[in-house]
Subunit: 396 residues, 2 copies
């Protein structure tokens, strides 16, 4: 077969970070079948869906079983009932967005991965360490990436003044509260980023997947910053906020006002891309999502978020006691800790797995600036989190 494949795939790691980790854990498991492994690695939720959500889904499935209420292809960008719920959700956050700027999808990962389809070859600015999708999707597209390092000094909140000068018209990925560091920009910092984007003619792709975990007085949307509607796309997810990692739903906001210098409207491009390569989200899933955003849904989900928050502070306290430096845990389900004794992050991964049967994520998997750091998640059970913390106290 002599067809050309996309050679850019040679630029990326053979396997995705989490596939890599899963393989190591599987191997350890096979060698130690009785090991009580506590998984604080993958950012996967563990609490079940509240009944208001499962009931909505059940109802929708029932409807699919009856001719009068059966639904076929969903509207391209989401059912109005869900788009309206999303617009309403933003209103509660103090932000006005139009329904036409809402694009429902099967999750933030898909949108973050696919958004490159509508963009040309641009300079890319990505903070380091970071969720691997931003880097990999741009490498696949042959783009040049400028990494902007986070570190303990800037609290893993790198700012534009740390960028090389002269970068113009870039695509900037920001994730706040951050995966993996849990660090969150404050309003002033977001305003600085928006100013920078406007000044340099850049586009911000704002990953807002962890917004629900904010507990300090921080912004819940990039659109809380005036001017963001001229330079920012916001990508959101039901995964962490509603426990939908196994349900699959998210949304992207592309304001009508996002127009490139040569007159292309980004929302029109995305509409066309989605109409061509996507067929919408499952009806029962959209009803589940609508229920998640209902008053009752928000209340029920708040309990789940608080449950995870307790895990986060449990881990954070232990690290405080162990005098290990970290970011996150306050506005995020992630704790990003400095590996003790100057250990490399994969060495620390192995140490935790083999000596304490805890799975975390080595910081290096998120980028060079992650070397020497490690991510633990607050998504386990409270019992397992306490158990893990005990093991950490013993080991470190």
């Amino acid at each position: 077969m002599r067809i050309k494949i996309n050679n850019n795939f040679d630029r990326i790691n053979q396997t995705y970070l989490f596939s890599n980790i899963a393989a190591r854990v599987r191997d350890y498991s096979k060698g130690h079948p009785d090991a009580d492994i506590i998984r604080l690695g993958i950012g996967d939720v563990t609490l079940p869906l509240p009944s208001v959500i499962t009931e909505a889904m059940q109802q929708a499935v029932l409807e699919m079983g009856s001719a009068e209420t059966f639904r076929g292809y969903p509207p391209e960008y989401g059912y109005d009932f869900l788009k309206d719920a999303i617009v309403s959700h933003y209103k509660d956050l103090g932000v006005n967005i139009s329904s036409s700027s809402v694009f429902v999808s099967d999750g933030a990962k898909s949108d973050l991965g696919n958004i490159v389809d509508i963009l040309g070859n641009n300079e890319i600015i990505i903070p380091d360490p970071v969720y691997p999708v931003y880097v990999d999707s741009n490498l696949m597209n042959g783009n040049h990436i400028n990494l902007l390092p986070g570190n303990m000094d800037n609290g893993f909140l790198p700012m534009p003044d740390e960028l090389p000068s002269g970068i113009e018209a870039a695509v900037i990925y920001l994730c706040s509260p951050n995966n993996p560091t849990g660090a969150a920009y404050d309003q002033e910092q977001l305003e600085t980023w928006v100013s920078y984007a406007i000044d340099t003619g850049s586009l911000i792709i704002y990953d807002n997947a962890y917004e629900a975990f904010i507990s300090e007085d921080l912004s819940h949307s990039i659109y809380s910053v005036p001017g963001a509607e001229e330079c920012a796309i916001e990508i959101c997810s039901f995964s962490k906020f509603a426990g939908f990692t196994g349900v699959r739903c998210g949304w992207t906001i592309i304001p009508d006002t996002l127009i490139s210098e040569d007159g292309h409207q980004l929302s029109a491009l995305w509409s066309r891309r989605q109409a061509t390569k996507f067929n919408g989200v499952s009806y029962p899933v959209q009803r589940a999502a609508e229920a998640a955003l209902s008053d009752k849904g928000i209340i029920e989900l708040q309990k789940n978020i608080d449950y995870y928050r307790r895990n986060a502070s449990t881990i954070a306290s232990a690290l405080d006691d162990l005098a290990i430096r970290y970011t996150g845990g306050i506005n995020s389900p992630y704790i990003w800790l400095e590996c003790p004794d100057g250990l490399g992050s994969w060495d620390f991964f192995d140490k935790l797995l083999h000596k304490a049967q805890i799975v975390g994520t080595p910081g290096e998997g998120f980028g060079q600036a992650g070397e020497g750091f490690f991510r633990l998640t607050a998504f386990g059970t409270y019992e397992n989190t306490c158990k893990a913390v005990q093991r950490l106290r013993k080991l470190l």
Copy 2:
């Protein structure tokens, strides 16, 4: 905002064909609110899901509501229970495929649209008329497309000998039974295509979405042709076979043996692409898909398929009586008719909409070779189909 967008979007029509049609129908509706519009345009199913499927989905939703049975992120390429069901399904069709070659997705449209991500810039061969996704996704990627015209003479089953000579190492899209023409290649024709692909070092992307409608003695998979595992990807869907247009599930087969001349294994590339840009299919949806492939599911769905088949033959009979030439209707839910009186396809669309309140799809929407042709679908209710046929008999 001075970022570069993907200029290839200028190469494609502003709006996707079906969005275009929906807009025209909405306008007509507004002007004629009492019109009894019969929709035989979009290939959307209308029969509800059989209870074996809704029950499986209900059960899965229940599980999501309980901590012990809650499921988070699905395995990247599908749950084993579904991949096994797919492998088993192929076995029933007389084809052996490995579980590792199965990639579960949220539908054929996503896979057909996204497969370009792993391919480089190649010559593309696409029969005309055709499902717009193949053309549009390649235009978005900047590829040069060679259209291979179907017509009444070749029964809308164009063959390689109708291609210009000298094309090497192309990506060839085949859809059989075809959308929009309903024509289906026989075994010998598929063997010829596979030989051509092997001889020219080409890749076949085989859209098998309508396989369940085959009623003649035809192949149900490209892998029934020896050698196809060296040159073909097969993309399948639950949409038409199981009525999942609103549920969203499909799968792609990429044999491990599909290796490019420079040593890239296509399944490894697709694995990497999906691991990066996709987060799997909803758990309840995968259980629904598993149920669709169960013995009971197949039996129940066969009834639905027969119901649509009756619609198809109802339309076909009428066209026979009206001496209107057509393809399809036998192995397909689509009937592809020659517009009477030499009318252009959009003119015929307007005529049917305004004079008979029937919505169909103008052939030109599927490509130049579709001009003067028109697609009707068998997915309506039997009552509406009979009503539509009566109106056609009067009008034509």
